[in-house]
């Protein structure tokens, strides 16, 4: 694999992804919400005397759980399917590049576009917090780092969808369904399973960790407050099982999701005759 070719394709993909209006719409919505939350958090701190940053950051986690998968899935889903539908993928494959260079070039370009959009949101929210003199820079950066990992996981799942579909609209629809499943049905399913199966906290933790969004939620809350009390028995179980290694376990799980999702997407894309 020639890295110069990967980078050439990544640059083009980045330019293409940055033209995606939806990406910027989500980024702007996230930035606006983050700014509003930072102001609301500071206001409530003045009124109730609670930690403004902790409250803002916790609210931010819920916003991130909605926006980041949507951004990653939609950008990823369009990356291969859109090109395939337009016929540009076939033309690109006819050039002296191999499939790995095309795939990873597209993945790097799309990831950079996502990071740019998320960086804007985090930057604005960070400015909002810093302007009021409140905040915990280390916790904030830790939250940003886990968010970028969640973005990559969503992007990887988007690429799986993209490798499986031949039309951009089909890929976008499938991405929306996966987003709904992860964001809403993941929680509902977990609640239903809890009621029906009455699992032990350890089993429940295992079920929780099967959803990358829940891994992110655990990691984000842990990094913000260094305690998982707010998650009740499951949080306690997680801390009991992994202790201080918990953030690293969560990091490894998210990294695993990234590797597996991109790995599956590449295997699908690399099938002979898939153009």
């Amino acid at each position: 694999m020639e890295l110069s070719l990967v980078w050439t394709i990544a640059q083009r993909e980045l330019r293409e992804a940055l033209k995606n209006k939806w990406l910027w719409f989500y980024a702007a919505a996230f930035a606006g919400l983050a700014l509003a939350l930072s102001q609301a958090g500071l206001a409530s701190a003045g009124y109730a005397g609670l930690g403004g940053f902790g409250r803002t950051a916790a609210s931010l986690v819920n916003a991130l759980l909605l926006f980041v998968p949507l951004m990653g899935l939609s950008v990823g889903a369009g990356a291969l399917a859109g090109d395939r539908e337009r016929g540009t993928l076939l033309y690109l494959l006819a050039q002296p590049v191999n499939r790995a260079e095309i795939f990873f070039g597209k993945a790097v370009g799309a990831a950079l576009a996502l990071f740019a959009a998320l960086g804007l949101g985090f930057g604005l929210a960070g400015l909002g917090l810093a302007s009021a003199g409140d905040g915990n820079a280390a916790a904030y950066l830790s939250l940003a780092a886990f968010t970028f990992l969640l973005a990559l996981t969503s992007l990887g799942l988007g690429f799986v969808i993209s490798a499986l579909t031949r039309k951009g609209a089909t890929a976008a629809g499938a991405a929306l369904i996966v987003w709904l499943v992860l964001v809403f049905f993941g929680d509902l399913g977990l609640m239903g399973a809890t009621l029906a199966l009455r699992p032990t906290p350890g089993t429940l933790l295992g079920m929780l960790l099967a959803n990358p969004l829940q891994i992110f939620k655990l990691a984000a809350i842990y990094s913000l407050r260094a305690t998982l009390d707010t998650l009740g028995a499951v949080g306690q179980s997680a801390y009991f099982q992994f202790g201080n290694a918990l953030p690293f376990v969560l990091l490894a799980l998210l990294a695993g999701w990234i590797v597996v999702s991109f790995g599956i997407a590449f295997t699908l894309f690399n099938r002979p005759g898939d153009a």
Partner: protein
């Protein structure tokens, strides 16, 4: 000593499920030779070109300048400039498009500038590609194909979407490239393309390489017969049929009230002359070349 080979296709077979698109196709192309893949739509011409680019799986073996397209696809593609039937580009300017593909093919910016002029896109360099006409897009595709100065050009019905003038100009460009020594393999079902460019014609029929022939022989084969539709008044129609039948030119009447005859292309005036001699007035006529894939 075996002669040098630019393209070698050996026992190529492609199946789509149970359907066999092409079976046991074998041929060689010598360096600098121009070969036409001739056959009707759906004959498998594009399939063969895609296989040469390593875009589809197949049975058999294809070598490009000695490189197996399955094992060394990227190296094989470095030897190829590909022009699809309808090139589809990203939403970039002409210049940016060429620069993007130049980076992929490791061609310098001087080459980009030279090719822009050569294919007549110099004045369109800043235009976005979607704003170009079909003819200019095909020129851009040719420029992309030539970026790395490859020894082989694969063209998939290169003038199918062009108007007459654009087609003529494009064929002149391709003929110049052939003259410069490029090996050219192109899919076509247009006799004028074949006559302008090909040294040999590979005729594909029923999923097989049916025959290898020359453009002249193909032309003769295609223009063997023409069908004349003659408009003759009701009163004279039976007389016209009898006149032609008597002279050994079988005629038939059709439901639209016309007389139809089929003759050799070089004898197409004969029915008109015979009818004139018999005192039959031909009110109008249509001439259609009977293209035969046999």
């Amino acid at each position: 000593m075996t002669p040098p080979v630019s393209i070698r296709v050996d026992q190529f077979t492609k199946r789509y499920g149970r359907v066999i698109a092409l079976q046991n196709v074998s041929f060689d192309a010598a360096p600098g030779e121009a070969l036409a893949l001739w056959g009707p739509n759906g004959a498998g011409k594009t399939t063969l070109l895609k296989a040469m680019l390593g875009l589809i799986d197949f049975q058999g073996r294809i070598q490009i300048e000695g490189n197996d397209v399955r094992r060394a696809g990227k190296i094989a593609r470095r030897q190829i400039g590909y022009v699809p039937q309808e090139a589809l580009f990203y939403d970039l300017s002409v210049q940016a498009t060429l620069e993007f593909y130049a980076r992929l093919k490791k061609a310098g910016s001087a080459r980009v500038a030279r090719l822009l002029e050569r294919v007549g896109l110099g004045e369109h360099a800043r235009k976005p590609v979607p704003a170009l006409s079909g003819g200019l897009k095909q020129r851009l595709a040719l420029a992309v194909a030539l970026l790395a100065d490859p020894p082989i050009l694969l063209l998939d019905e290169p003038t199918a979407n062009l108007d007459t003038q654009a087609r003529r100009d494009y064929l002149a460009l391709l003929a110049a490239l052939h003259h410069e020594g490029k090996t050219i393999l192109f899919a076509s079902h247009r006799i004028e393309e074949v006559e302008a460019l090909a040294d040999r014609v590979l005729m594909i029929k029923d999923g097989r390489l049916a025959e290898t022939t020359t453009p002249e022989a193909l032309h003769a084969q295609l223009s063997t017969e023409v069908e004349l539709t003659l408009w003759i008044s009701d009163a004279q129609r039976a007389q016209a049929k009898a006149c032609l039948d008597d002279q050994g030119i079988p005629a038939r009447l059709n439901g639209r009230g016309t007389v139809i005859v089929r003759v050799r292309a070089e004898q197409k005036m004969q029915p008109l002359e015979l009818l004139n001699a018999c005192g039959v007035s031909v009110l109008n006529f249509e001439l259609e070349q009977v293209a035969s894939w046999n």
